[in-house]
């Protein structure tokens, strides 16, 4: 039988243990004290490097049942340098709320999917570990793997941090089933500082291991060692397979001036507090999926998220500029397999009886999801009103 989703009881076991130990990341800190390095589960080089988000097909007689719906990956990448160092504690504390809003409440924004979450934390290249990256999980392992992380609270005071290695992993070292349907996963980076505009091969090897470039190639991407992509290009490539957003905490550290140079402004959200994370993510995802509108968002935040009217209005204003409905306009959005659909064999995209069933082999060919995202940005001439 397949695994169950994150339950409050399962989360509480992990959270209580962390609380008793005095830190959400107590296991990671203990390992570090013992000189053991990152745990394999959160080491970006661990478990085959490529993070996989796979729909669970439960054997049922000679067929396979889609147990929880198509897997939908959500990755959150947290700055844990300097004043942002407490972010993992906050992320751990708000995890049940995040999961509820994505998967459980009556109007859960990803209710039709099997929600799988990756948590990453990033530091500065001068810190010991530039990146910690969990596996894609759906149950209490989300919280467990947070406890293995090691925020270094450093940052080096050098005018920026290094989330671009995490973005590189998201763009080139992630395999999400949702992309096979032409839809995109969700990706959030939370920071207050600028990033660096480049990655180095040495650091890529340091983060992802000596086989990093081979893994990129194995995952179906073409990246040249001699001409590594810039941060801007990494983000552009990430946007081909994920609805990616930058959540900016304004602390006067220069982030607001930097990030519009590498990601479009409609994907930069100012957040007042990392405590808002579950609500901001749910709002963005709900609007992108088309299950929420700006009209219904405030009601959702008040009724389902139990926020005050003023906070709900602030969050609504913060997210009002994003590309609303971007997921809903993608091909196959209305054709996705549903929970309990039966499949003829593993590897099939389309269940038995689906209008696309006969296309199972060919549907798997367009895996890199690039049919709808063109590189480069051309200034769009506005179309007139078309008065008659």
């Amino acid at each position: 039988m397949g695994r169950d989703r994150l339950s409050n009881a399962a989360y509480s076991r992990v959270a209580d243990e962390a609380k008793a130990a005095g830190s959400a990341t107590h296991k990671g800190e203990e390992r570090h004290r013992q000189g053991k390095g990152l745990h394999e589960l959160v080491d970006p080089a661990g478990f085959g490097v490529i993070r996989r988000s796979i729909s669970w097909l439960e054997p049922t007689g000679k067929r396979f049942k889609l147990l929880r719906g198509v897997a939908m990956l959500e990755e959150t990448r947290l700055d844990t340098t300097g004043s942002m160092g407490g972010n993992v504690n906050i992320a751990m504390r708000v995890l049940p709320k995040t999961h509820d809003l994505l998967a459980k409440v009556p109007h859960a924004v990803l209710g039709r999917y099997d929600v799988q979450m990756i948590t990453s934390i990033f530091n500065d290249a001068k810190d010991q570990y530039i990146l910690n990256r969990s596996q894609a999980e759906l149950d209490e392992r989300i919280a467990e793997q947070m406890t293995y992380m090691l925020p270094e609270h450093g940052g080096a005071g050098n005018g920026g941090e290094d989330p671009q290695y995490g973005l590189f992993g998201a763009a080139y070292l992630t395999a999400a089933d949702i992309n096979k349907y032409g839809l995109k996963s969700y990706d959030f980076t939370i920071t207050d500082e600028p990033a660096r505009n480049f990655v180095t091969l040495d650091n890529l090897i340091r983060v992802f291991g000596p086989d990093v470039m081979a893994k990129v190639k194995e995952n179906g991407h073409v990246v040249s060692e001699g001409e590594l992509p810039s941060t801007k290009q990494i983000i552009a490539d990430l946007l081909k397979r994920a609805h990616a957003f930058l959540l900016l905490v304004e602390t006067g550290s220069g982030g607001a001036g930097y990030w519009p140079t590498v990601i479009s402004k409609d994907r930069i959200i100012m957040i007042e507090s990392v405590e808002w994370l579950p609500y901001i993510k749910a709002a963005i995802i709900g609007l992108t999926e088309g299950v929420l509108t700006l009209q219904s968002l405030e009601e959702f935040l008040i009724e389902d998220a139990k926020l005050s009217k003023s906070v709900a209005a602030s969050i609504k204003r913060a997210v009002a500029g994003i590309p609303i409905g971007a997921q809903a306009t993608l091909p196959n959005f209305g054709l996705l397999p549903k929970k309990d659909d039966m499949f003829a064999q593993k590897g099939d995209l389309w269940p038995i009886g689906h209008q696309n069933f006969t296309g199972n082999a060919s549907a798997a060919d367009d895996e890199d999801g690039d049919q709808d995202q063109k590189a480069g940005k051309k200034k769009k001439k506005k179309q007139g009103a078309g008065w008659l």
Binding site: L248, A256, W259, P260, K265, D266, I268, I269, M270, L287, G290, T293, L294, Q295, K316, R317, A318, A320, G321, P323, I324, G325, A326, A328, T329, K382, Q383, G384, A385, G386, W387, L388
Partner: protein, 288 residues
């Protein structure tokens, strides 16, 4: 929706909107006249496809927020400066009467907009570019000055709220001028391409907005819309001093990104230097 047939659209609270003449069509929406239950005439906008729902959703949100801000700002201004002319920002964009997703129309969003604050009759409003293209008229420079002044005032307001992106060409600038009274004003009709940037607007975005309205005004003066030198046709009486044309051209060429500065400089030029003793100038146009 078919025109010429009696179509009624039902809102979520049971209110009925009688759909009339189709006014405009484009890839984002179809626009119709519609009559409310109390007989007043509004605009009814319906998304061209469900995929465009998000644009109309954001438009309704931005217009509602702008109206709340305009009314709050007006109340504060009147309190602080009694006796001063009102700001009247709310005249410059439509009011949202209703916005909902209509299951009756394939799940497309419907927004009902009014210009009640500006015009009693919808027919008193016309796109600015119709002056030259359909009426074959050109406005005189003093009329163009109040058009530009009001549009700059609008940009001061919208840029202050980090809102940009709405089309600002003559197709989307509605002008009210009526033989019944001396009121005249302008408003931006469609906001479906507008967005809000909480991180702040780029200088390029603000410059483009200012340049767009200046270019639209030059076309209303019968300037050539394809002329990239933005040459302004001469006017014997009102353009004897080149400063107005030079200023308008400078804005059209994209030399200014600060709407508040552009607005202040423009009014200093018009009210204190060029036409200080002019007083109220009614809408004036002449045959091209």
């Amino acid at each position: 929706m078919k025109t010429g047939t009696a179509i009624r659209v039902k809102g979520p609270k049971g209110q009925m909107y009688d759909v009339g003449k189709q006014l405009a069509v484009n890839s984002r929406f179809n626009l119709y006249e519609c009559t409310l239950e109390d007989g007043r005439v509004c605009l009814l906008k319906i998304a061209a496809t469900k995929e465009q729902n998000g644009l109309l959703d954001r438009e309704a949100y931005l217009l509602t927020t702008m109206m709340e801000e305009a009314e709050a700002t007006e109340a504060e201004y009147v309190g602080k400066f009694p006796g001063e002319p009102p700001l009247n920002y709310h005249f410059l964009f439509p009011r949202v009467v209703d916005s909902f997703v209509s299951e009756e129309y394939e799940g497309r969003r419907v927004t009902v907009l009014s210009f009640f604050d500006i015009a009693d009759e919808l027919s008193d409003l016309a796109p600015l570019y119709h002056i030259t293209t359909r009426e074959r008229q050109r406005v005189d420079p003093k009329t163009s000055a109040w058009i530009l002044g009001k549009l700059l005032k609008l940009l001061v307001f919208t840029h202050g709220q980090n809102i940009t992106g709405q089309s600002l060409d003559g197709d989307n600038i509605l002008i009210y001028h009526s033989d019944k009274d001396e009121r005249h004003t302008v408003a931006i009709c469609d906001w479906s391409e507008a967005t809000i940037m909480p991180v702040g607007l780029s200088p390029d975005a603000m410059t483009e907005d200012i340049a767009s309205i200046a270019q639209a005004v030059i076309v209303a003066l019968s300037g050539d819309p394809d002329d990239e030198t933005f040459a302004i046709p001469p006017h014997e009486e009102q353009l004897t001093d080149s400063r107005f044309a030079d200023h308008l051209k400078r804005l059209a060429e994209g030399y200014e990104h600060d709407a508040a500065k552009a607005h202040a400089e423009f009014y200093t030029l018009i009210k204190k230097e060029l036409w200080a003793k002019a007083g109220f100038h009614p809408y004036t146009s002449t045959r091209i």
